[in-house]
Amino acid sequence: MSLKRNILDLRKRKEKVLQGGGEKAIQKQVAMGKLTARERVTSILDEDSFHEYDMFVEHEARDFGMEKKELHGDGVIIGTGTIYGEPVCIFAQDFTVAGGSLGLMHARKITKIMDHALKMRVPLIGINDSGGARIQEGVNSLAGYGEIFFRNTLASGVIPQLSVILGPCAGGAVYSPALTDFVFVVENISKMFITGPEVIKTVLGEEISMEELGGAKVHSEITGNAHFYALSEYECFEQIKKLLTFIPWHNAKKAKAFPPKPPRPEYKIEEIVPSDPTQPYDIRNVIKAIVDDSDFFESMENFARNIVIGFGRMNGETVGFVANQPLVLAGVLDCDSSDKAARFIRYCDSFNIPIVTLEDMPGYLPGVDQEHMGVIRHGAKILYAYSEATVPKITVIVRKAYGGGYIAMNSRHMKADFMFAWPNAEIAVMGPDGAANIIFRKEILAAADPEAMRKEKVAEYREKFANPYVAAAKGYIDTVIEPQETRNMLLHSIEVSSNKVDGRPAKKHGIPPF
């Protein structure tokens, strides 16, 4: 064969693989409102940057007549490409080929690109669209999942791992996304669950649809398994690309810096926070009044909304924000919000992103359900994550800091590098109402007009303790600042922390209250 004929043969072979599961299967995929695996990869990556590997891999199934079937690429596409010019590794399960089912070679392709990503220290993007284990391949497909989970764990905290759920992701398969840093879901398309509606119906007699059981909304609002929710695949791809602008390529690097921009003038920091500590406002407006171009990229927007997490830039450098949200449940800490914040703090610490904490919280959510769900263990995760973190950590108390929440929200005692408070801050063991009721119980009961006495004592307590100066007198707060000084103080403290060296005792690893 001449080289020319060899080349023609190669092209023919490639063309065949590029057809995926064939015309019919692709039509079905499109009818479900889904893009094909290849369209997804090329839409996420820079134009013409995708290079595919393992196109000619053949599947391993030798039983149940499977040996006669040809499964192009064994139902998964792997390769490398660039996003905004920077290299990434990517895999995309192809639902048109045997339902994207995972067999031995399918898994080997994924682990190959995972090994590559870890070795090359580049982010890994995984697009999940699979019916699950290829049953005909038996334990080999289970082995495949196990190898993927192991690598997810190895890569955790070294390279960013992004999971994009663009179809079903059921049974054991869900654990790979769960082990990764960020999970993206799309309305009507993403479905994640351990046991599907069919099994639930036969075993338990409970009827539920896939969407209600594990759709995009469920995972972004109720379970907290998903970080980013989109209405379409294209919106999801934009979110992926935007996230990648905020995070470094690996754990020994800093995120890329952008040209500094001031916050937009419509966010007036002195007009956002009501002075009455019982009145709500949206803490995200305070963040927007601080960050470059008022561009705040929120993660887990719809889960545990009583805490806000996400990325912004300050003078062009990425900063992670953790902020109590007085708009929802008065900004209390509870099981879900503790989980949400703790994981984000650890993410920032792993990837050299300074953490700014904005505090305005009344305490922990009271209730039997919270106690019985283990708010002690969950709440401890925040303490653990903040104490463990050695990236620059700065706290601004914008209004209330009561009780255990004061300690938890990156206090001086968790080794915050800088502690600032606004002049209206109330730093105390509890709110004046509760505190006065306890301290002055006898006086209030004995008074001729208990209600008037109670009010008087509340005012007295507020005057004496509900301010930032008691804490400042002990050095727990470094300085009390005017709200409009906040951005400059943060910029300055991040700048002076840029060569921060802060050690922790050498150990294999700690034992966080998982």
Partner: protein, 102 residues
């Protein structure tokens, strides 16, 4: 923004939105030791006692099959069966009242 409710934390009443999860939380109820509830969803494959029967602690009341496992439901203390709320072959959800002891 908008749907603000009153919300008490440590004696202070805040104006704030509530979450669906918070509003849908189940109020705690003290468990009644005389009620035997299912501990797992499954199927009642056999009932071994009758209403009005005296039963000793540890004796089997019924078999609840779940996840291919036949679980014996045992009498928690000596007593008399007041009422049986399930029948053989019935599929039961979790935490369903199955037997009441007098």
């Amino acid at each position: 923004m908008g749907n603000f409710k009153k919300f008490n934390v440590d004696g202070t009443v805040y104006r704030t939105e509530l979450t669906k999860k918070f509003e849908n939380r189940k109020p705690w109820v003290r468990p009644n030791p005389k009620h035997i509830n299912s501990f797992i969803p499954g199927t009642i494959v056999e009932i071994l006692v009758k209403e009005g029967q005296e039963v000793k602690e540890g004796e089997s009341l019924m078999i609840l099959e779940a996840m291919k496992m036949k679980n014996q439901i045992k009498m928690p203390f000596d007593g008399k069966i007041a009422k049986i709320y399930v029948a053989e072959g019935e599929k039961v959800p979790n935490r369903l009242l199955m037997v009441e002891i007098e």
